[in-house]
Subunit: 385 residues, 2 copies
């Protein structure tokens, strides 16, 4: 096991009717910027629950944060927050609203030039306005971590940052808020959570049987609950288990002391920046291709995955690994996710460009740092379809 530090001070408030707890979680003297996305919270009653819980609070609202939250939008929120002396941010929405609000929180306090440098140049975040979240879309795990991914359309960039200052003070997870989600967003969320786990699990073995089993626990549960979670939007138990799986997938626990490989995410971010495809869709296409390409260095864990997650015990090692990857692809297909670039209308002519963009940022990917420009093209060819 590698040495590691684990620190995660996010308070999770989970369950039915928990939005009402907001009044116990935010001090009455705070001036709140309430951030949200495209307005689904008005249709599903979440906005009303939030406003009801915060009756008497001083609230400024900022809506319109896009999926793949856009820098130009977030900077407007920063200006509004500064001019209104906002001292608490409440993000109500999915991972994009939360990621965007983390960026707003850091940017408000950023005084060393262009806030985009936080993402583009790793400029250090020295402080942030405190934030809390009401999660409505299980997927990214952003509600219980200090990561954020922000896009900037004018530069065709989708970049991430992290800082302990942007851990939410609390996150409210009421599974009932997910009942009205579009089917596509639920499927995206299932894949996002699934691949968050595999990025921390399918690497090389450093003798971490507990973390491996914790990873398998999330994967097996997601596979088990996916059909009913999609088919029955108001099945509370399914939505609750899905929500908790997605949070646990990226709160740091399964990543303790293990090798990690975020290749599928890094390539996927480029696909989203260039072609606008959903984050979850980029992962359902790319992740299995990464495993096929890296099967030699990931062999031990892929065999473990085959046996423990998919109950595959027959055949040669190569057959087991193929079967595990095929079953994963079948699983993604079963919830109507794309599994090839062709499914996403991305054609081979673009592959070199994608690899170039990663190479330009000096990104050598893979837990063994063996995925450079050529290998990215090979991975994209594997899933071209």
């Amino acid at each position: 096991m590698f040495n590691f530090q684990y620190y995660n001070p996010v308070r999770i408030v989970f369950g039915k009717n928990t939005i009402a707890e907001l009044k116990n979680l935010i001090s009455r003297d705070k001036k709140i910027l309430l951030t949200y996305g495209g307005g689904s919270i008005f249709r599903n009653g979440v906005y009303d629950q939030v406003k009801s819980a915060l009756t008497g609070y001083n609230i400024v609202e900022f809506g319109g944060i896009q999926p793949n939250p856009e820098y130009d939008t977030l900077i407007k929120a920063v200006d509004i927050a500064r001019s209104n002396n906002i001292d608490f941010l409440l993000a109500v929405g999915g991972g994009s609203v939360i990621d965007g609000t983390k960026f707003i929180a850091a940017a408000i306090c950023f005084e060393d030039g262009d806030p985009w440098d936080i993402c583009a140049k790793g400029a250090p975040v020295k402080n942030a306005v405190p934030l809390g979240t009401v999660l409505t879309l299980p997927a990214t795990g952003s509600e219980m971590n200090c990561f954020s991914v922000v896009s900037r359309a004018s530069r065709v960039e989708k970049l991430h940052f992290s800082s302990p200052y942007v851990f939410p003070k609390f996150s409210i997870l009421d599974p009932e808020t997910t009942f009205s989600l579009p089917r596509r967003q639920v499927a995206n969320g299932i894949v996002d959570a699934f691949v968050h786990v595999t990025e921390q699990y399918l690497t090389y073995c450093v003798n971490t049987p507990l973390q491996d089993r914790q990873a398998q626990a999330i994967l097996k549960t997601l596979i088990e609950i996916a059909p009913a979670t999609i088919a029955n939007p108001s099945n509370y138990d399914c939505r609750a288990n899905f929500m908790w799986c997605a949070t646990q997938a990226l709160n740091g626990i399964i990543g303790c002391g293990v090798a990690q490989d975020w290749t599928a995410h890094m390539i996927g971010h480029e696909l989203t920046a260039l072609f606008g495809i959903d984050h979850g869709q980029s992962l359902s296409v790319i992740a299995p291709a990464v495993w096929r390409h890296q099967r030699a260095v990931k062999k031990t864990k892929l065999l473990e995955y085959a046996y423990n997650v998919w109950n595959i015990s027959a055949g040669s090692d190569e057959e087991k690994i193929n079967s595990a990857i095929d079953k994963t692809i079948d699983f993604f297909r079963s919830i109507d996710m794309p599994v090839t670039l062709k499914d996403c209308n991305i054609v081979p002519g673009n592959f070199a460009n994608i690899a170039d963009r990663l190479a330009e940022r000096g990104m050598i990917l893979g837990e063994n740092q063996n995925i450079g420009r050529n290998e990215v093209v090979e991975i994209l060819n594997i899933c071209s379809g």
Copy 2:
């Protein structure tokens, strides 16, 4: 799944040579009370590592905290801390030193009468001196939770309290500090961690497949690593996995949203208070007896435990449950733990007294509140030997 809150701000610093990190974890201006137990830290080099890391710090030392930390001892530390204006406590040791230090931390700030009321009457803890830990004995999970158990010999009492104020600010877990542990303490620790899991897992089902698998992950890993962990004290990987299992067993994650039953601990605490037996030994004796007695209400989870932890798939439901309990007892025996009261030299004549003590404190046990005085005697009879 039940509604729940999860909050755990402890920073875990895990791995080889991590004691040196102390200087980055405690501000130089703190006046530290360094607490420890019977002196093993002098023999295994941990004391020297701590003092070396804290060169130049203002440190007062307080040793001699007993297994089952004793109120009369802890109160002396409170006096020393107050008279020395201590503003940070560093506990170096196992669960008893950490639990005791949590009590010291709360008692220093307690101004509403006798600090024993914190344990005996649930007097509210309104503040505590901040504390950190260097863990040397994986077992209790105290390094990553806000619980504490304290004994008071003059009253023959062993009682617990909890408060968010006594979460350690950090806990350093260096598996190498465990290499010199006596075999018996390692076996005790394995059982303690194991039963922490079963107390949160073997209850009734509320549709929590992820938490169930997370619980099974710890149990299976403990079973897998126990033989080599005991046989090869300097096997780093085994000790590391054991250490991380013990922490994860009681940091709250597996307890999220599930029914819990701390019957084995509550009866076990009485056995320790009355007869001085090790905490781990009380659990290896009592826990399986609780499952046998409560097999009807715990049936679904016991069958799940049989299948998923012990790979038992043959036989009737009753046979599967018997086999799972028998295998657990065999496992405990395999690491030389007692499995009957007779093994601990406790004879049937004492059983009514034990049940009376719990009844006097108004304790009705079990996840269904169905274990009263008579049932406690029945459970004790099951494991009398």
